[in-house]
């Protein structure tokens, strides 16, 4: 069986991370920003799983990926809660409206 080489995974992960990072930087919608963060986290997960192949016995990379998914879920829960209260406060989910600390 011809395994897909590790660099291919890494390239995919890099592309995913790049999309996430750019998306986070350029989009003003908080929900989209959250989704971008999820993308970046998943890019990291892909990297972990890919590298796991180098140390297949230990499964460290896969374990880390699971932890990451759990953290991402918690982060999404907290993030959405923040988005909800932010929306209640400003009647919008645009992140540039969140400048209450200014002045």
């Amino acid at each position: 069986m011809n395994a897909i080489p590790i660099p291919a995974f890494l390239v995919v992960a890099a592309i995913l991370f790049g999309i996430g990072a750019v998306g986070f930087l350029v989009r003003r919608n908080v929900l989209v920003a959250l989704m971008s963060i999820e993308l970046m986290l998943n890019a990291v997960n892909v990297t972990f799983v890919a590298f796991n192949r180098l140390h297949a016995d230990a499964h460290v990379g896969q374990l880390f990926a699971f932890f990451n998914i759990a953290v991402a879920a918690a982060e999404a829960a907290v993030g959405l809660a923040i988005v909800l209260s932010f929306f209640r406060l400003r009647r919008t989910v645009r992140s540039d409206a969140g400048d209450l600390l200014k002045n």
């Binding site: 986070f24 992140s95 969140g98 600390l101 200014k102």
Partner: protein
């Protein structure tokens, strides 16, 4: 010789009682007085004074007994040795008490330590002073219990008064200069607080500030004098100063600030004496700093009697008498002291001639009498000058307290602070206030110099010594002696030096003594005049206070005199019963209740209650008879004998009677007695016989002169125009500096930079998450770029000729070394061993090391290092440079 003393002379704990009782009273009255009420305050204040006075009396008697024992022992030793005379003490007898060790510092010569202890000492001089302060203080406390009875701030008054007594006792009993200074400032503070006791009136508060500031100016001199003493005498305690006083004969060269080439050389004693004199002129109200004392009469009258007549103002005298050795080392400083005193005595007396406020007359009289005291000590008559302090304490306290009773009685009729002190509204009071009249009359005779009264002996003693004394440099006699010897034996060494020195010793010119005497006699005549004027205007003639309108403004301008101070009866409908002026003697609660019709004769002015009349009477008795403690013409001199050990050294060395002056003692009394007769006689003629017409005519004849004297010769205005204006100008300049340089350039520029930087940085802190995220992203990118390149950093350590080169480690780095020895690495290596290489470099040799580092991305970087082993540099000690630690 056995002395059965209860306490040891070097641990005389009763001093703690003398000092502690008033301090406790001040604390008690200040903290609890308001809650406990007037009875408790009165009891406590008088009780602590009684304790203090009793302890002082006990101490004094024990000191007397102890000294008597010493004299007896000396007399026994002298007669044993076959010498009849010589039972004379040369050192003061001292009781001391060390409260605690205060501080200690290196002395000026660097050798020893200059210790300053909270140590108290009573000797002959401070013993007498202590008795006066506690005794007169006790009487004035008793007087005040009635005088201040209706004041709402009763507790505050007695707290201040007790605190004053404590501070005054610290001043007197302190065994060193700094402790005296503590008391000096303490009495200044209490004086300030009590002058401004009714501080809700702006004038009173201003008078308090004036006193405080004038004294601060004097304190500059005090501090300077203290520094000089510490430096040149090497000590600050009294005995130490006396022993180290030879150091004060050193010359000091003073350079002109404008032209450093010009200089004068004075002795340290002159400079010290003049500096201390400045301090004394502040505290003792002499020219040029006397201006605060007349204004200080804004305080309650008992305060005027205690602080501003009997005790505090004499502390300058006490200091000069205490440091008599220092002052007599400089005949020039002594001459200045005497001249200042004489000038003040005359100047203040001329102002006192025309004042109409009874307390103002007494205030200028005090300034004038203090001038006499300065004249006395300045001419070397320390004991006599101090005796005048003593007698003045009695007669001036009696006069002030008596005037307080008069004001008290007047106030009950007039209800106006200013008018109840105006002598033009008094008159005929002897009928209503006989006790006060006789007491004040006795005190007046004493101050005016009626023969056999106390003031006669002290004042005429001062005048005689002003004429007859001569103060010489302590080495003058030695130098004269050497010069005499040189006449017979010209080959003696040091002849030329002695002659030179003899010429350099300054001595007061011959005319100075007679001049001071004349000025003093004129001032004595003026004193007799203004004191009898006060008595006649107040107690003789008709009472003019029946019909006084307290609402009408009081004309202090003599040219408004035509407008009658005594109103026509019909004008009394306008009498302002709602007079809101602060009621001096009665406090606030009595305001607005007085509705008696002043057009009809009301209750006459009444004698003061016994608590007020009795202290005045006691003081008057002392004023009459205290003179016999030091009646020099009658050779009854217990006080002079008592004080002699304190001034023994000075009397032996520096102060001498002029030749043939002994015969002048009786003749020189004649001008003094004449001055008394002329002054009092003119006052009688003008104010009793002439009913005040002649003075009015004189005032009309020389209006400018009269107005100038009434306005205190415009000295306050002069000070306003020069010193105060100058200070204001300086302050204005400083304010400009502050506005433009400090605020303008320093503050505004700094803040502009900070706010500009903030404006730039604020743009990044805009609260938009994306901007922060972009920051993170840019930062991450930067890190990536930095760590994407390999870094070949090396550190070299040397051990003899062996050099070790160590590369910094990095993740995924591989190293290739070329030590220049032809055995360069062909392959990259990793691990610990790859990081370090050693190389031997001989002296004066240079080697090149090349290191190539490759990182995980395959990028390479090359680093070349030159390793040099130079010759050892010459050490600093080899160059002969000083300062190598441990070199010597």
């Amino acid at each position: 010789m056995e002395h059965h003393l209860l306490f040891q002379p070097d641990d005389w704990t009763p001093l703690a009682w003398i000092l502690g009782a008033p301090l406790f009273g001040a604390f008690f009255n200040g903290v609890f007085g308001k809650r406990l009420g007037k009875n408790a305050v009165r009891t406590m204040a008088v009780a602590v004074m009684a304790v203090s006075f009793a302890a002082a009396l006990y101490t004094f008697l024990q000191l007397h007994e102890f000294r008597h024992g010493l004299e007896a022992a000396m007399g026994a030793a002298a007669s044993h040795g076959g010498v009849k005379e010589g039972a004379e003490l040369t050192e003061p007898t001292r009781f001391t008490w060390l409260a605690w060790k205060w501080l200690s510092m290196p002395s000026a010569d660097g050798g020893g330590r200059l210790g300053i202890d909270a140590k108290f000492m009573v000797d002959e001089l401070s013993g007498v002073m202590m008795l006066v302060v506690t005794g007169v203080g006790f009487l004035i406390h008793v007087y005040s219990t009635s005088y201040m009875a209706k004041d709402p701030s009763y507790h505050r008054f007695f707290a201040y008064l007790n605190l004053f007594i404590f501070a005054m006792l610290v001043l007197i009993l302190g065994a060193n200069m700094p402790l005296l200074f503590v008391g000096w400032e303490g009495v200044g503070l209490c004086s300030y607080l009590l002058i401004g006791f009714w501080f809700d009136k702006e004038a009173n508060a201003a008078a308090g500030r004036k006193a405080f500031i004038a004294n601060r100016i004097g304190d500059v001199g005090m501090l300077g004098g203290m520094f000089l003493l510490a430096y040149y005498a090497g000590a600050l305690d009294w005995t130490g100063i006396t022993h180290g006083s030879q150091g004060l004969l050193q010359p000091i060269t003073l350079y002109q600030a404008a032209d450093p080439a010009k200089s004068i050389t004075v002795s340290a004693a002159t400079l010290t004496g003049l500096a201390l004199l400045l301090g004394c002129t502040g505290k003792s109200a002499q020219i040029p700093l006397y201006v605060w004392l007349p204004d200080a009469m804004a305080g309650p009258t008992p305060v005027s009697a205690l602080i501003h007549a009997a005790t505090m103002v004499t502390s300058g005298l006490y200091l000069i008498a205490r440091l008599n050795v220092v002052f007599t080392f400089s005949p020039f400083a002594m001459a200045v002291v005497a001249s200042v005193g004489a000038a003040t005595a005359l100047f203040a007396a001329t102002i006192g001639l025309v004042q109409n406020d009874i307390k103002k007359v007494l205030a200028y009289s005090t300034v004038s009498q203090l001038g006499y005291m300065f004249l006395g000590v300045g001419t070397g008559a320390f004991a006599m000058g101090f005796f005048h302090v003593f007698t003045h304490a009695f007669f001036k306290a009696a006069l002030f307290l008596g005037s307080g009773s008069v004001i008290h009685a007047m106030h009950a009729r007039i209800h106006d602070d200013v008018k109840s002190q105006d002598m033009r509204l008094m008159g005929g009071l002897k009928k209503y206030m006989p006790w006060t009249y006789f007491s004040m009359g006795a005190a007046t005779l004493a101050i005016a110099g009626m023969p056999l009264f106390s003031g006669f002996f002290s004042k005429d003693g001062i005048l005689f010594h002003a004429y007859a004394n001569r103060v010489v440099h302590p080495f003058k006699h030695t130098a004269e002696h050497i010069v005499e010897l040189c006449k017979t034996n010209p080959k003696m060494p040091a002849c030329g030096a002695a002659e030179q020195q003899l010429a350099a010793y300054w001595e007061a010119p011959r005319w100075l003594g007679p001049t001071l005497f004349t000025v003093g006699v004129i001032a004595a005549a003026l004193t007799a005049f203004y004191m009898f004027r006060l008595m006649f205007m107040t107690f003789w003639g008709e009472f003019k206070g029946w019909k006084v309108d307290s609402a009408a403004p009081l004309a202090l301008d003599p040219f408004a005199n035509e407008e009658p101070l005594v109103d026509e009866p019909e004008a009394h409908e306008a009498h302002a019963h709602g007079e809101q002026a602060h009621d001096e003697e009665h406090g606030h609660e009595e305001h607005g209740h007085h509705h008696e019709d002043l057009a009809t004769p009301a209750a006459p002015p009444a004698e003061a209650p016994w608590t007020m009349a009795l202290p005045v009477a006691i003081l008057a008795v002392f004023a009459v008879f205290a003179g016999f403690l030091y009646a020099e013409p009658l050779r009854i001199e217990p006080l002079g004998h008592w004080l002699d050990p304190v001034f023994h050294h000075v009397n032996m060395v520096s102060v001498h009677l002029k030749e043939g002056a002994e015969q002048l003692e009786k003749p020189l009394m004649v001008p003094g007695v004449l001055a008394f007769l002329i002054g009092s006689g003119i006052a009688y003629l003008w104010y009793v016989k002439g009913e005040g017409k002649t003075p009015a005519e004189l005032a009309a004849a020389w209006p400018r002169l009269h107005r100038a004297a009434l306005n205190k010769w415009y000295v306050d205005e002069l000070y306003d125009a020069t010193i105060i204006e100058g200070t204001d100008a300086l302050a204005d300049g400083a304010a400009l500096m502050d506005t433009w340089v400090v605020d303008g350039i320093l503050a505004k520029l700094t803040s502009a930079i900070a706010s500009g930087l903030g404006a730039v940085l604020r743009a990044f802190q805009n609260g938009v998450v994306h901007v922060y995220a972009a920051g993170i992203a840019i930062g991450a990118l930067g890190l990536f770029v930095f760590f994407g390149r390999p870094h070949a950093d090396v550190a070299t350590t040397k051990a003899g000729e062996q050099f070790t080169i160590e590369a910094t480690p990095g993740l995924g780095y591989e190293y290739k070394w070329d030590l220049g020895d032809g055995k360069a690495d062909q392959q990259y290596t990793t691990g610990e061993a790859a990081l370090k290489r050693s190389i031997t470099v001989k002296q004066d040799e240079t080697k090149k090391v090349k290191l190539t580092v490759k990182n995980a991305f395959g990028r390479e970087v090359v680093r070349e290092v030159q390793i040099r082993n130079p010759k050892p540099a010459p050490t600093s000690s080899a160059l002969g440079l000083p300062g190598a630690p441990g070199g010597q």
